[in-house]
Amino acid sequence: MKTYFDIAGDGGSQIVDQVVDIQEKIRHKLSRVKHRLAIASGKGGVGKSTLAMQLAAALRQRGKTVTLLDADLNGPSLAHMAGLQESLFIPGPAGLHVPKTKDGIGVLSLGSMVSEDQAIDFESVAPSESFTWRATREFTTFRDLLAGTDWGTLDYLVIDLPPGAHKCYEFAQFLGSETAFVLVTLPSDVSQGVVRRSVSALKKLKNPLLGYVENMSGYYCADCGKVKPLFPQNTRMNFDIPLLASLPFDPRLATLCDQGQPLAYLFDSPAAQAIHALAENIEKRMEAQP
């Protein structure tokens, strides 16, 4: 009697073929994107989205073409930070057209589509078991988004990832080994501990790990112009990867983000300087990648 592998194909459902097809489509759609950069952290609320947004703005100011992809499907925040909540998704000749800020930064975020008073729900035909399928469904959704969007010609696609050390690993596999990673941490021991875990998870893969950013590494006081400590003066853990920049806490940066104003470089401050240093550093390291 024949066994599974004696029979060609996968039984008529062509599931494998279809998955391969869509991967091929994604490769084609991203073929004119020079650099893929994921902003990640094991932790939430450490400033991944803020940094992704500001980094994109700084790269744009350096003359690069940049699109931001919000991969946090549960808590999309880039639409808000970029001031694009009211945007429409329009089909262009080659797929979804990416909305742009007035500075020309492309921003693709489900926050432009599902308003903030609504939860993002993944329907399930197995009653009350939606959590079982949610992860698969999320990656499927994300994959459809990559395949159905016209990314055009870009210097940088900056991907803002959801929190979780294991999520970093899953996304690294999903996005492919060409995607470079930057990790974000706070100076606290707890945050550094979580990020360390992400580093060791990512080290198992081939993805370039450019380094990490220490966010809220101090408090910038506009009155006296000095950066004061915000967290207890902990020792920096050794992550074995370069420190790319330290960004102080600056209330004006938080305000700009809330107002959907992506231009942190409008004001001259230690935070803005740190973001520019980061952009320069990343550009140098990305160009050095094979």
Binding site: A94, L96, E123, T141
Partner: protein, 166 residues
Amino acid sequence: MKFLCVECNEPMKLIKKEAAVVPSDKGSLTVRFECPSCLYEIAMLTNPFETQLVTSLGVRIGGQTVEGSTAKLEDSMQALSGTASAPQVSVNMGKCPFSKDIQKMISAAGDAAAMPWTSQAAVRMEKMPEFVRPMARSGIEKYARDKGFSEINEAVLDEAKNVFGM
């Protein structure tokens, strides 16, 4: 998964003559196969978990959508091949993980008369991620109505594209 006709030692094939995949409203799926040599027929009956496994992958079984009706499939085939009888075709709304929210939003927006889409505009829609389509459609139709357009064509889409984020 494959099915073998033990008698003939032949793999069974999805039946061709009628709908091979029939979804039920309880989340089960009936998928019919036949042996190409002795024409013996069997049906695979999935439980909701098995159906969910397939739908979570976002693929079609044997080229048919699992959730969508065949009518929708025909619409999109017509739109793609340009063989629609009228110049306007309906847009394949697809399966959508946010369908509940979107259904709510569409009805809240008072989606009175659906706007006709030219087949070229509908083809563009087909190239977008499926889960984005329902939201995009209602937004675009609202935009077109506000602007006094009577149909959605590529020119309307390009105009909307320029208005909303360059």
